[in-house]
């Protein structure tokens, strides 16, 4: 059990580290784009493509972190209206729904990754599969995250920290 706990922490710490690097790199590319055009007078043609690609990766990996800490936004009315036993039952149902959904996404995402392998990304000159693959990898990790969160036992309705 302790081993699984360590694995769980290591895995999501690693994912968090990668996403932090990705988001910093996309900010850097976005800022460089301004500098390149306005100050260096030699606009970059790769920066937009890089920013978009790293953002897709950030989002797809980031959802596993959000699921892991139960930060996914949901309408909690029913959950908080139920008693502890009912709430836990509802959590089982939600778990089943989320795992099925993410499993489906991983499956169709993998198929799309394979199908688009001949498509190149302009400006970056690599196959678009390198970005598409973020969908199956991210959703597969999210399944692990949902299970890990559920295995921790009943949760109080989390008030989210979502920013918009």
């Amino acid at each position: 059990m302790a081993f699984i706990g360590i694995l769980d922490r290591t895995l999501f710490r690693l994912v968090s580290g990668i996403t932090q690097v990705l988001i910093v790199s996309s900010v850097a590319a976005g800022f460089y784009q301004v500098i390149a055009r306005f100050i260096l007078e030699s606009p970059a043609d790769w920066s937009e493509a890089w920013t978009r690609a790293s953002l897709i990766w950030t989002v797809m990996l980031g959802i596993s972190l959000a699921f892991r800490q139960g930060a996914m936004l949901s309408v909690e009315m029913l959950h908080s209206a139920l008693g502890p036993r009912g709430a836990r039952w509802l959590e089982h149902v939600i778990l089943a729904i989320c795992v099925s959904f993410l499993g489906f996404m991983a499956w169709v995402g993998a198929q799309m990754t394979w199908r688009v392998r001949f498509q190149t990304m302009p400006s970056l000159e690599v196959s678009i599969s390198w970005v598409y693959i973020a969908i199956p990898i991210g959703t597969a990790l999210a399944i692990v995250a949902v299970l890990a969160h559920w295995a921790e036992g009943p949760h109080k309705a989390v008030v989210d920290e979502t920013t918009i």
Partner: protein
């Protein structure tokens, strides 16, 4: 009757719209109303890249797209995007209707697409707010918004233009605030996007010929009878003719229109531009093969 979904990036009132109308008319007429087209203009079903993917998946049935998007699926179609490759519209049409163009259409099924015909957007022209561009020297140092097309960008760089890829929704604001000096597009877009309100100078650089493609999803096409297949091919052909007619008209009327709206229009030293981009050609030879590029150039 079967409803087919047709997607394109511009409004119904554009060269794409004209092509789409002709396409619909011929298909309905030729198949006795068995197939009807539902139009999705203005990128209602997504950008061109996504639309082509949709054709592959079968979620979209027909589309009119530019080679800027197809070159990521069938790389060789990018050859027509080489700047200053064609002398004039007649030259371009001759190449597309000839062996070179037709063989390229046959490369699409290998990528899960059916190409019905070559359409046309017309030559791309340069607009800006700084000065009239007559010689390559005038173009130097202008910040020009381009599409994310590496073939165009290479030539712009050679000319000393600061090529800035930018998403289209941001362009109007960027031109207005001076974030960029200019942009380049076919006449039809320059008129319909109200660029005369944002830009002072139109220079008729005709730097890139813009072909268009009438594409179809193999999901639908492969299930058709031979007779219906022929009808769709004919419809593609009619769409191409309609686009060409639209371009012929807008190349003249569009210039009148933007002049009326106060834009200053000038012709350019074409030979000087052709010479100025020569140093990029070895790169294009490497990408597409010297034989192909030269045989396009030498088509009379």
């Amino acid at each position: 009757a079967t409803n087919l979904k047709l997607a394109y990036a511009l409004s119904t009132n554009s060269h794409y719209g004209a092509g789409a109308d002709a396409l619909a008319k011929t298909i309905e007429g030729e198949t006795g109303g068995e197939f009807k087209l539902e139009h999705f203009p203005n990128s209602a079903l997504g950008g061109e890249r996504e639309v082509i993917e949709g054709l592959q998946l079968g979620t979209i049935d027909l589309a009119i797209v530019s080679t800027g998007a197809t070159l990521n699926f069938v790389p060789n179609t990018g050859v027509f995007d080489i700047p200053f490759l064609f002398r004039d519209l007649t030259h371009a049409r001759k190449v597309l209707d000839g062996q070179i163009g037709q063989e390229m259409l046959e490369a699409f099924p290998k990528r899960g697409l059916v190409a019905l015909a070559w359409g046309e957007q017309g030559f791309r022209q340069l607009t800006n707010n700084v000065r009239p561009v007559v010689t390559p020297d005038d173009a130097k140092g202008l910040k020009v918004r381009t599409t994310e097309n590496p073939i165009h960008i290479a030539a712009f760089r050679e000319l000393g233009i600061l090529a800035t890829p930018m998403a289209w929704p941001e362009v109007a604001t960027a031109l207005q605030q001076g974030t960029i000096d200019g942009q380049e597009n076919p006449m039809s877009v320059i008129v319909s996007a109200k660029l005369p309100q944002l830009q002072k100078y139109l220079s008729l650089t005709a730097h890139v010929y813009g072909p268009a493609l009438v594409l179809m999803s193999p999901n639908v096409y492969n299930g058709l009878s031979d007779e219906d297949k022929a009808s769709f091919k004919k419809a593609g052909h009619d769409a191409a003719l309609a686009m060409r007619a639209y371009v012929d008209d807008i190349e003249k009327s569009g210039i009148e229109e933007v002049k009326k709206q106060g834009m200053q229009v000038n012709t350019v030293d074409h030979a000087a531009f052709v010479k100025a981009v020569q140093p990029v050609y070895p790169q294009y030879y490497k990408q597409f093969g010297k034989d192909l590029v030269e045989s396009i150039r030498n088509t009379q």
